[in-house]
Symmetry: C2
Subunit: 443 residues, 2 copies
């Protein structure tokens, strides 16, 4: 495949923009990036017109619960406790079976691909279904079967969930798209002994560990009460504060931890919208970037965002950071896009494969259509994308050399069929929660 | 025209959702809203299919500088002083002539209509050109010729600008779409004597007064130094603190002013993204809503946002309000949409005409396409629109009974021609500011 004559943003550690360049792709890998005029157009299976397009690495969603898309917007504007206890947990118990996880994940995949995402880190249940959905969609994923001390929709106890994660890791060890993490839910839902076990398995099997960390003030206070330390120290004590740790949220982190986080190689998944929507707080992302702590973006689950679109996250995060620090230079346009691509790839441990465009890396490439009123004029392509683009400006998505969306048409999933099935589940959930008319807008 | 069988959100002061209802439009006015099954489909010039659509009042942008779209993104991530002095002011002096204001306004109109806006309050120069562009586009506008103590691109002194505004008001006094305000720029750019003159003319001619107010800490401090009072007291002293005042920004407002603002009937235009992007601060919108102060949404100019999309503003503002107050109920989904419609109409003084759907009001109606993965399932239509919709979900826009966008096709403006002209101006501005390659992404 040849992507011909686009405005290429290679990403990587430094800004690099190549106008009128072409990218050659063979067997799923980028083979060259050259000035368009030097490229021979003959002999390719497919030549994709890059004119009027920004061409860049696809976006990486470092933390989500994809199947929760089925619960999008059914319990908004509520305090966390009421949200969890009266809505999310009961609905998970009643509805989040294998079949609905398969469906909800497909709904999420439609949305993620449409917004340019090429890989996501999931944390949920029935992750074998998530794997199958991603294989069908052609999406990269880091699977995270949720490990909790109590019963989950999938397993009665944490040991069974851990054993299942190891099975998944073994089963997909050579898969080009699917990787596996150990995913203990949080320090308040997983005991120290289970966390220690996970730390050992992570080292033995070279598996990343994906956890919610320092998300709310409550979590920090409870950890202090139960274990006498901040959640970060608690993870250190159980052997998890290392370069395999993917720490989602990291909102309540005193600055004295920064150097330890950097030195340990901890990776942070920042979930801006969810932190705001649940009023958890402001994560000090400008500090993390300044301190060179590995940082990427996540959307969290669609029930607490309520989107899976990375472009919304970076714009929002950048603007709030400017306001909170009083510094309009906080998280500049390049840094915003960096977190969504190269930074995210480092967080998920795949920066040797994706996250920037260069020969030898996988062809995880998106084309963004620029000839639209809200994107013109263009003085600085990073600013245009960081502050003006809508998720729907993503035109074409290529993952591992396979076109999964072309000119906004999904090629791997059946949108109509999925939406029809989602509509049926919507009726069931609305009925269960006595939302008499599911679209009534009461509240 | 008949809009048939949609999911209707009337807006107004209370949530009201009418599934499977139809709206009759005759001579630009809404004549009825009835259950779809009771409506006769015969005899209409046009029957618009509302199935799978949310049907609601169009959005109102209470503060912008539309023509500054030509400067979108050419100077981001900079401190306000550097942004203004090295980029915005020099570019206005060099490029914001009559021709480019006409062009930039048309570019902005394309973007605003595409995101569902049906009326905006402008504050810029050559507002006669803005009026012509709006007439062509079929857009409602509140014109605001900028009044400053010093020379503007249009006039050498404030008296000429004031005289021109009065001429515009007289000329358009019976226009269905075009209204006129007096638009003194700010307390730091317009002298007390000019402000007093404007106060008298506002009363004599029943004209709203549109001004930047309490935007930055610097403004408040300088006003204290120059006049010994907060900018709100300063406006009170010159006779402007009344129900004709449209106060844009209102970021730095101590709570002791709230009751005075409510009692005076002051209207607030909240510009969320710009306040954050320029690090001006957080406007206490949850307080304004609780205190029943009239509040709507604006985008500010595209050079400091960098969008003109109201759906981005409400989502962002609601989420940041939850975080800043620690209260996930702050600015709920209905309130967010209220500010964008009914609230905005009250801010611009047109709530007798637009801002809610009811018989007798003007047909300023938008259709939002709901059958998309990122908008499904729907448990509460307010949540769906407030937190999940993208600006591009707006499918059709009707202003005063005229269809200006249908199925995302612009019907009144020539997109290609406008973008081609914008591209030429982009080259000139990039050359002037030595952005060697205008799309190079340096910074």
């Amino acid at each position: 495949m040849l992507i011909h004559d686009g405005l290429i943003l290679t990403m990587g550690d430094q800004p690099r923009v190549l106008p009128h360049h072409s990218i050659g792709v063979v067997d799923g890998l980028i083979t060259f990036i050259r000035p368009a005029e030097e490229v021979n157009l003959e002999g390719w299976d497919e030549v994709m017109d890059g004119r009027g397009m920004a061409v860049m690495p696809g976006f990486i969603n470092c933390h989500t619960h994809a199947a929760m898309s089925l619960m999008r917007g059914f319990a908004d504007d509520l305090p966390l406790k009421e949200w969890l206890e009266n809505f999310i947990w009961p609905s998970e118990a009643a509805f989040m079976n294998r079949k609905n996880v398969a469906l909800g994940t497909r709904l999420a995949l439609l949305e993620m691909i449409a917004a340019g995402t090429v890989m996501f880190a999931d944390m949920y249940f029935f992750e074998d279904e998530v794997a199958l959905a991603c294989q069908q969609a052609g999406m990269r994923v880091l699977l995270g079967e949720g490990i909790l001390d109590f019963k989950t929709p999938h397993f009665p106890n944490p040991d069974d969930a851990i054993a299942f994660a190891l099975e998944l890791a073994s089963h997909y060890s050579n898969d080009p798209l699917i990787k596996v993490a150990l995913a203990p839910h949080a320090v308040y839902t997983v005991s120290p002994s289970t966390l220690k076990k996970i730390a050992k398995l992570s080292a033995d099997y070279h598996l990343p560990v994906h956890i919610h960390l320092a998300e709310t003030r409550q979590e920090v206070e409870d950890c202090q009460k139960s274990f006498g330390v901040h959640p970060i120290d608690h993870l250190s004590n159980v052997g998890l504060l290392n370069d395999k740790l993917i720490a989602a949220h990291m909102v309540h982190v005193p600055s004295e931890y920064y150097s330890r986080l950097r030195e340990a190689g901890v990776r942070i998944a920042h979930n801006h919208s969810a932190n705001l929507k649940l009023a958890s707080g402001f994560a000090p992302i400008p500090d993390y970037l300044k301190e060179k702590i590995i940082t990427g973006l996540g959307t969290d689950g669609p029930a607490s965002n309520n989107n899976l679109a990375i472009p919304i996250e970076w714009r929002h995060s950048s603007l709030v950071s400017k306001m909170m620090t009083g510094n309009p230079e906080a998280i500049n346009a390049f840094e915003a896009l960096y977190m969504a691509t190269t930074g995210g790839a480092r967080v998920l441990g795949v920066s040797d494969i994706i996250g920037s465009l260069e020969p030898g890396k996988a062809a995880d490439i998106i084309l963004i259509s620029l000839n639209k009123p809200h994107l013109q004029p263009i003085y600085n392509i990073y600013s245009t994308l960081a502050y003006s683009m809508h998720p729907t400006d993503v035109d074409t998505v290529i993952i591992n050399g396979r076109i999964v969306m072309r000119r906004r048409q999904m090629l791997t999933l059946d949108t109509e069929k999925i939406l029809a099935e989602v509509n049926q589940v919507e009726r069931q959930i609305a009925h269960y929660f006595h939302l008499n008319n599911s679209r009534n807008g009461k509240k």
